[in-house]
């Protein structure tokens, strides 16, 4: 079963991703900020990461930048999902190591499709 790590400080957002993705057959793990995301990612392996931008203690860019230097996270596909839709936010996300940038709120069918394509494993 493909495993997805969801990193977002908003409880309802994490619940939403979890419900949609579990319904589609994925296994989901949660973290409330980038630092906890790194802690989870060194403890177990994931096929895809969904990460928010603004979070306490460690933001999404820092999470991606640090993650890309760690063996456990170097090659895991990552989708940055943000409320910020300006062009420079998109560029920053890719510079930090994101493979795809989406603007919130994400429709459930988009989430499922992105996860299916990007996790690289059947759900």
């Amino acid at each position: 079963m493909a495993r997805i790590l969801v990193v977002d400080d908003a409880t309802t957002v994490r619940m939403y991703y979890r419900d949609v993705l579990e319904e589609a057959g994925f296994a989901v793990e949660e973290a409330v900020n980038g630092f906890e995301g790194l802690e989870k990612a060194v403890a177990e392996s994931f096929d895809l990461i969904l990460v928010d931008v603004n979070m306490p203690k460690m933001d999404g860019y820092t999470f991606l930048r640090q993650g890309r230097t760690m063996p456990e996270l170097q090659a895991v596909p990552a989708v940055m999902i943000s409320t910020e839709s300006a062009a420079q936010d998109r560029e920053r996300a890719y510079a930090a190591g994101a493979n795809l940038y989406l603007v919130k709120p994400v429709r459930p069918e988009v989430l499922t499709e992105v996860a299916t394509v990007m996790a690289g494993v059947a759900p």
Binding site: T11, A31, V32, N33, F35, E36, L38, E39, V42, A43, K57, M58, Q66
Partner: protein
């Protein structure tokens, strides 16, 4: 004659449990699975009765808004098993010897001491465990001067720590040979030998006051286990700042097994070793 007032057991609804669980997770990093429901409910009910609250909502407001944060602390205490004994979370001491100290000493000049801070040291089990483990298992132990500083905010426990006298239960995880080497029997109890007791510097410190800790500097490793989880957000950040300032660049912090730096501070980096996950002041940091 009236029957003694016997408050009914408060009801924790499914939605209450979920709301509490998410709040507790956000604050502490501890996540209760559904199969912990009974464990959590019992403790919530116990505290609601103790504080005279019947509605979960009122109790939830108390733990969220109480200015002193006292009730939240009490609850955390109940939800985590907090016991002090020798060799508690022994994997971290193994990590100290096998991974942390080899890295720390690679950067040392000859003659430079290795400095370790145990805070809070409580009644002394932790700093003595560190001493025992270093003497027993660190091959390089005789090549360095090792300074262990042990502090607590509570002077009563500090006096006990200095005294170094323990019952069977406290030392049950210490290997027999180690116990024989580093303690002697005193009326059925175990007393840490004077050589070791006198080698540890005990002092009183309030970790949340950065100005009171300014003489604590140049540490290589800080053990700060099972303390910050009880603090509110602002005090956690203060304490983390103090620890940061007390460490040398590249120095390490070990937290308790149920604590995560992700709820405490953004100043440290994550380091994964074979034995444990620990935290590090960036090597590039200015002292």
């Amino acid at each position: 004659m009236t029957a003694p007032f016997n408050p009914p057991t408060p009801v924790i609804a499914d939605s209450d449990f979920v709301r509490f669980r998410d709040f507790f997770y956000r604050k502490t990093g501890i996540m209760f699975a559904d199969n912990k429901r009974y464990f959590v409910d019992k403790r919530l009910q116990e505290r609601m009765q103790a504080t005279g609250q019947i509605q979960f909502r009122d109790y939830f407001n108390t733990i969220r808004f109480q200015a002193s944060g006292e009730e939240f602390q009490t609850l955390v205490n109940l939800m985590t098993v907090n016991e002090t004994y020798f060799y508690r979370e022994e994997y971290q001491f193994r990590c100290l010897v096998q991974s942390i100290l080899p890295e720390v000493t690679r950067r040392k000049r000859p003659g430079e001491p290795v400095r370790i801070w145990s805070v809070p040291c409580s009644t002394g089990e932790e700093p003595y465990s560190i001493a025992f483990q270093l003497l027993d298992t660190w091959a390089e132990v005789d090549r360095y001067d090792i300074e262990i500083v042990a502090t607590d905010i509570d002077t009563t426990v500090l006096e006990q720590a200095k005294r170094g006298l323990y019952g069977d239960r406290a030392v049950q995880h210490v290997p027999k040979a180690t116990l024989e080497r580093y303690t002697r029997r005193v009326r059925g109890a175990y007393e840490v030998i004077p050589d070791i007791r006198e080698s540890i510097a005990f002092a009183r410190v309030n970790l949340s006051d950065p100005l009171s800790t300014r003489q604590f500097r140049d540490f290589d490793v800080v053990f700060c286990r099972n303390l910050l989880i009880y603090f509110d957000d602002a005090s956690r950040r203060d304490a983390a700042q103090t620890i940061y300032e007390a460490l040398r660049p590249g120095g390490f912090v070990c937290l308790g097994h149920s604590e995560s730096m992700s709820r405490i501070s953004s100043l440290f980096d994550l380091r994964k070793f074979a034995e444990a996950i620990v935290y590090q002041k960036p090597l590039s940091a200015e002292a």
